[in-house]
Symmetry: C2
Subunit: 262 residues, 2 copies
């Protein structure tokens, strides 16, 4: 079995924003589909692992793009495993135009395997006798030329918005869907930001689960560094959850993100 999985899609009309480019959340969804197919085709899919009471949990996702695919473009994603540690594995992505081969960008992700009963992380190196190591492609063998995940730390977070969660926010496990957080985060920015800039890098860290009915409180902190037109170069965002109505002090941190503009 080849170590790299390829996954193709066409940028659909309802998946582009008002600039005609793919929504970041939809790109994230495609990357997760590619990851799922890579795992499944190598005996490590969620469906196969559920039988032995394990499941994958996404911990970090960082996407860095020269360009976001546009409506009707054909996109090919390559995904592979760069490393496996005891409790985490690093999975990378290359995103290219399927017609002319130009590279839109790359992504990195970190995953843990948990026991669905105890919710405790499992030792990836022991599962299936270390079978996962057969699929590793080191950074020398298959480079992913973007920075690793950074540390997101808000020192003076400003409360920006509370978002209630409903039926459409929730996945099959009853958790708020990883992709919906990306939508809620990008919805913090006004139209003008997307008219004048594009997202160079998007990082998200999933810390805790939230559930249908939880209220999400979104906090932000813009960078001191500015682009030439005065807009902050980046913004850190933190989502905290409230079971029921928001209260002070704010609830537990469930998601952190960084959006860097260009």
């Amino acid at each position: 079995m080849e170590k790299v999985e390829r996954y193709s899609f066409t940028v659909e009309p309802f998946h582009v924003d008002f600039t005609g480019h793919l929504f970041m959340g939809v790109l994230g969804n495609h990357l997760l589909n590619a990851a799922g197919r890579h795992s499944h085709n190598r005996g490590w899919g969620i469906d196969q692992l559920n039988e032995v009471h394990y499941t994958w949990v996404l911990s970090r996702l960082s996407i860095e793009l020269d360009e976001m695919p546009a409506q009707y473009e054909h996109v090919e994603v390559e995904t592979w495993v760069e490393s496996v540690m005891k409790l985490f594995t690093e999975r990378n992505f290359l995103i290219r135009n399927a017609d002319d081969g130009r590279i839109y960008g790359y992504a990195r992700s970190i995953w843990a395997m948990i026991d669905v009963e105890t919710r405790q992380p499992s030792n990836l190196l022991e599962l299936k006798d270390g079978d996962i190591l057969r699929y590793v492609l080191t950074a020398d063998e298959k480079p992913c030329p973007i920075a690793k995940h950074g540390r997101i730390r808000l020192s003076q977070p400003e409360h920006l918005r509370d978002v209630d969660t409903y039926y459409s926010d929730v996945d099959i496990n009853g958790h708020i869907n990883s992709i919906k957080y990306i939508e809620h985060i990008l919805d913090l920015f006004p139209r003008s930001t997307f008219e004048l800039h594009h997202i160079r890098r998007f990082e998200i860290a999933y810390k805790l689960e939230s559930y249908l009915g939880d209220t999400l409180s979104l906090y932000g902190e813009p960078s001191a560094e500015k682009l030439s037109d005065g807009q902050p170069r980046s913004c850190q965002v933190e989502i905290r959850k409230h079971v029921g109505a928001p209260a002070k002090p704010a609830g537990e941190t469930i998601v952190q993100a960084l959006i860097a503009w260009e």
Copy 2:
């Protein structure tokens, strides 16, 4: 060119609700993709029409299902044109399981063609010398055994929720995306409704456009007729828009919908 277009998809993990079934909005998106492909392959695609300053506008969509496709199922959609009038065309859909052929359900839709400059409807029978009539499959030739679109009329609408619109709600034309309305409408219902019932029929009528920053006010009216457990058999929903903050009296009606449960 065959009169029926076939379009296939797999039900992806992030496209299912907490019951493991496809979100209605995602099904709607797939139907619109199928319609787009049918039109494009016959010289009537939006991309081809834009060159001559015309575009398709969806006016009505009614979906009726015995069963909603579940996660990982392979789905095939057939779509065809049932009739063409001067200002409207009727397009139907059949939705089936691609592996065993069982039929999940059917859908009907109504479309107008408008001039993108004047926003006025165009005469479909005159465009391209009536070429569109070559693709008609009458109800006798290809049946679509579900009711036509009904009349949605709320006599005592109750104000249920206001929804602000953001970046993720808007399509490439700057309009609130047709699919997002479906999400906002279904988000009116509590978890228990989806646990106990499934949607037998979903109807939506698109009346006017709304734009990024508009506030949507959602109104509902449950049917007097009840299911055996006391839940209303159906609910009519109306969305009105406000430019800026909601005011009384409520704004213009932009969308109407009917959700019938089973």
